[in-house]
């Protein structure tokens, strides 16, 4: 139909473009002419376009399902809508991850981020499951009887199981992300009360929706069973996938809203410290968001252009390339996954260095201040926490940091200090969950300091450290090196 819709209003042509390709090939030309005639006689363009738009959604829903033994296919996961939502999410979250600015770490609504990330994962999983189910279903349709059908149906059910496992795994990862964001490292269930409720709830809703879609699909596909009489009801239940669709739309809107309105934020995902900047800030974000948006748009157009299959006898003759189409769906899904992985990998690389280098830099600054104090105080660290003999305490030296003596570091700009006459231990807690420390021994000591007895400067890190445990003390232990901070 491309290029043959001349004369029809653009909005009408766009609405017609949303129909499955087989539909456009069969009815598109006549539909264009009908639209032209209706508009010419005075019917509103919007009214015509709206009518076609509703029809396109229904046609897409039917065309992505599988025909029953006698009738039309039921409504199942709305593949194109799923793709669109996935790509919208991909675009915005990719932009969010890519636009990493070296802004001051602050606080963010981590649960919102967890929700966006988690639902995006689920959308991707569901999209992949949908494409896979499509391929399995096509094969079943081609072998309607006999042993091969039994094998394929069993395969379909197994596939449904794998899909469910994937969705459950996604939900678990989402929950884990939420819990980690809330600062709990060990994934205890009580942590749900402080960070993961929304993510867990969204995961359960999505799980039920996908489960409904898969169960409904399996039941309708198995044919004339007593359960089939409940098909209309099951069809509506399978329409629970609409809940998934709605959830993704809401999430996408929320994510875009987040990008448009949020000031720079910092948050942690596992061991990675992320800082986001406003994606539409013209000096930095736009440059990244634009290509991501273009990629997402191309993927959406690609998904919409795939021919959809019909398996009803009267129409099957015009569906000539089901295998190619199925491969195309898988290719799009893989492209989606690839772009997502690329975005996450790039963001991780950038932010990893940023987050941890801040702690390392702050500790080096604190050590410089401590050594200044040490020199001024006649080669002693004993007066770090107080002003003695006109010598400034460590806190009075302009390092831009705050210091806690005897307590835990409360953030990367607050350094916990413990010292003796000839040694000092400085600790700095990263909200990502790592405790960095420096132990400096001026001379050999009998009793170990941070596991060391010989003189020197030792750099250490305690991975997965809660904030309260990041307290400088003589017996602080972790991974240590004399060459620099080890990776947590």
């Amino acid at each position: 139909m491309a290029g043959r819709g001349a004369g029809a209003p653009l909005i009408v042509r766009l609405a017609l473009r949303l129909y499955p390709s087989f539909w456009r090939e069969r009815y598109g030309e006549d539909a264009v002419v009908t639209a032209c005639d209706l508009v010419a006689e005075g019917q509103g363009i919007a009214s015509v376009a709206w009518s076609y738009l509703k029809g396109a959604v229904r046609a897409q829903q039917r065309s992505t399902g599988f025909a029953g033994p006698n009738g039309p296919s039921r409504v199942r996961l709305p593949n194109p809508v799923l793709y669109v939502c996935s790509y919208i999410w991909l675009g915005c979250s990719g932009g969010m991850l890519l636009v990493v600015g070296a802004s001051e770490p602050g606080t963010i609504a981590p649960r919102l981020v967890a929700l966006v990330i988690g639902l995006g994962m689920l959308a991707t999983t569901a999209t992949l499951s949908d494409a896979g189910a499509h391929i399995v279903g096509l094969r079943v349709r081609r072998a309607p009887d006999g042993r091969r059908r039994v094998v394929l149906v069993a395969g379909g059910i197994a596939f449904a199981g794998v899909s469910l496992a994937a969705v459950v795994a996604s939900a678990a990862v989402m929950a884990d992300v939420s819990v980690r964001l809330a600062g709990h490292r060990d994934f205890p269930f009580p942590a749900f009360a402080s960070g993961g409720e929304e993510a867990i709830l969204a995961g359960l809703i999505t799980l039920l929706a996908v489960l409904g879609g898969i169960v409904g699909y399996e039941v309708t596909r198995l044919g004339r069973t007593p359960v089939e009489r409940a098909r209309p009801w099951l069809g509506r239940f399978a329409g629970g996938s609409l809940a998934l669709e709605a959830a993704m739309v809401v999430t996408s809107v929320a994510a875009w809203g987040f990008l448009l309105s949020a000031p720079p934020h910092s948050f942690s995902v596992g061991r990675i410290w992320l800082t986001t900047d406003n994606a539409l800030r013209p000096d930095t974000g736009w440059l990244w968001a634009l290509p991501m948006g273009a990629v997402a748009l191309l993927l959406v157009l690609g998904a919409l252009s795939f021919p959809r299959r019909r398996t009803e006898p009267a129409v099957s003759a015009i569906s000539r390339r089901p295998a190619l189409s199925a491969l195309g769906s898988v290719a799009v899904s893989l492209a989606l996954l690839g772009v997502l992985s690329w975005g996450v990998a790039l963001a991780s690389r950038v932010t990893y260095g940023y987050g941890y280098s801040a702690a390392e830099t702050n500790l080096q600054t604190a050590l410089t201040g401590a050594l200044m104090n040490y020199t001024s105080a006649d080669f002693s660290f004993a007066g770090l926490d107080r002003q003695t003999g006109g010598i400034s305490s460590l806190a009075e030296i302009d390092t831009g940091l705050s210091y806690t003596f005897g307590g835990s570091s409360i953030g990367e700009h607050d350094v916990s200090v413990a010292s003796g006459r000839t040694w000092v231990v400085l600790a700095d807690w990263q909200p990502a969950g790592a405790c960095f420390f420096i132990a400096d021994l001026r001379i050999s000591v009998d009793r170990r300091v941070a596991g060391q007895t010989g003189p020197g400067t030792f750099y250490g890190v305690v991975p997965y450290s809660p904030q309260v445990a990041c307290r400088a003390r003589r017996d602080l232990r972790g991974d240590e090196s004399t060459e620099g901070f080890p990776s947590p």
Partner: protein, 112 residues
Amino acid sequence: MSRSPSSDPLSALGRFGAPASLILTSLVTGPKHGYGLTKDIEGFAGVRLGPGTLYEALARLEERGLVASLPAEERRRPYAITELGSKALADSLERTSRVADVARSRLGAVSG
């Protein structure tokens, strides 16, 4: 009460049953394209089908072999009722007629 879909293909169309009946009725007088169907139905039934609904119903009718699309004439594609479609329409009208007769007689009994 329930009737198997195969014995009543128009009822099996669900929400598209009514538009399908109108389309089949219109096609009884000869093949028509989309716009022609819209105008004809508007003329005899006073109902204006939205174009999206029209083509959805047409697609469903064609899937079931009740309507056949003819070779396109320029850019318009005419549709014709099939023998199966005529029979389905006749069956549907017969059922509707029976219900209408019962309704009329009962209304007469109540009012008279």
